[in-house]
Amino acid sequence: MIGYVVRRVLSIAPIMVGVSFLVFLMLHLVPGDVAEIMAARSQAGGGPDAVARVRHELGLDVPFHEQYFRFAARALTGDLGRSYYTNRPVLTSVVEMLPYTVRLALAAMGITVVVGVGLGLLAAVYHDTWVDRLAMLLSLGGLSIPIFWSGLLLILLFAVTLQWLPITGGTEWQRLVLPAVALGYDGAAFVARLTRSSMLEVLRQDYITTARAKGLRGAAVILRHGFRNAMLPVLTLAGLQFGRLLGGAVVAEAVFARPGVGRLVIDAILFKDYLLVQGVVLFVALTYAVINLAVDLLYLWVDPRIRYT
């Protein structure tokens, strides 16, 4: 098993190299002269000297492969460059915004899992009744209502009409509730559908019949024998959902005017602050890879039958 863990951990190395190369390539794919665009945005202005200086600082005056090695070497030490717009290190900006996004993502993940698993479980246990249909209707809603609309509706209902929550200001917790609900509901739909189908499959198994025949109460059968076995595929999906969540956070932060990594990248794109875009994209993609790895390894712990050799 240790061999598997080591191999799995090492397996993300090529992905990381590939991801960093794609992100590095971004600067070269931008139409026009990046150095000119960035010099024009910097505080020094866009004169020929400034352009030459930016080109040199970006390392665009050395051979292509050398540029990549420099980029990767610097990224490994945590140096993602300096924004030409804000004149601050990219990593500092990302780290500053990270807590906001992490809080939002964790709160939303909690809602996704609780609501999704709850709805799916109810739908499976009350299969083919109105409970099932209502749960699936709610899940279809989650699949079909984009965050940027559900978010606006939530603001309209809870902040404008009922005034339970402030539109601006308030504590961090008050500001977190609505975005987390909008983002969490979006993911809950997938989890609910998968929990339902996975539970339905498990409830058909012989050992469930055995458990019932032994005289176990319904709840014990469903929770102890059914639920635990039905959760494996759901765990994988929840892990994959985390990527969706990171993406959704970009939109949620814009809807609710929340600070965060998503806002940072959108502003960076709007201002053509390429180094900042590069830094955030690299950071998020690497985080995503690590989360997927963590979910994979979590499997070992959750499912005792898995013994990778």
Binding site: I15, G18, V19, L22, V23, M26, L29, V30, P31, L140, G141, L143, S144, I145, P146, I147, F148, W149, L152, L153, I155, L156, V160, I167, G243, R244, L246, G247, G248, V250, V251, A254, V255, V265, I266, A268, I269, L270, Y274, V277, V281, V284, A285, Y288, A289
Partner: protein, 292 residues
Amino acid sequence: MRRVAGPERVTGRGPGGEALRRFLRTPSAVLALLLLGVLGAAAVAAPLVSPYDPLDQNMADFLVPPGRGHWFGTDQFGRDILSRVVWGGRLTLQVGAIAVGISGVAGVVLGLTAGFYGRWPDFVIMRLIDLLLAFPSILLALGVVAILGGSLPNVMIAVGVAGVPQFTRLVRATVLAVRALPFVEAARAIGCRDRAILWRHILPNVVAPALVLATTSAAGAIITGAALSFLGLGVRPPAPEWGAMLSTGREYLRHAPWMSIFPGLAIMVAVIAINVVGDRFRDLLDPRLRME
């Protein structure tokens, strides 16, 4: 993968006719298809059916609530929201359709190449796909927009690129399954060339699953495309795109909620309809589900 003989063989209907008949037996799917038809027709016939010009400003009538004259109300420049929603369908639905077209064509070409030729083309293509999958899809779309800049065609490309991995993996898996079947071996035995086998025997088997994926991806493509416009990275105002309209509506949420309600409703109806049709479509074409 012909269907097992059932009552439909007795009535003499082909598998396509049977699938259609089963589809029509599901009221929710028929309703969803009708709704899609209405939205599509309104988008195509926008100049004929929209009561006003979507860009016509009328400052005397700004922020008018829904009512007679303006069923969906007006925006901050007195533009008729109903007309803008109708015209917006053109842009939003177009982004969804063309983006899925891009992912589909690229995915089929890459998946066929990888699955059929195997060896190094397979290795190279699949490693590239693994790389694309290493990014959450909206991040990929954002990356493409960051490089190309925000505009209608670039949003289509961005959303399209983000969908390529799914199609490639599906098509490759289908090709791997189909090329092992006896009819492919038979075609090879009678001396068919690779190209003929690919076009005449393998491609037709890839079309159905790819179409199902296209339907289900269209919903996501519409949402992602509208999201990019909402973020200010896609279609720009004053163009009436649903996502862009919501972005403006957000600023007037307190005083003119209708500016946000109607474009959002349009997106939701379109996406629900596509999801319901896509689900039903998949149930009918997925043989494993058909057994139940």
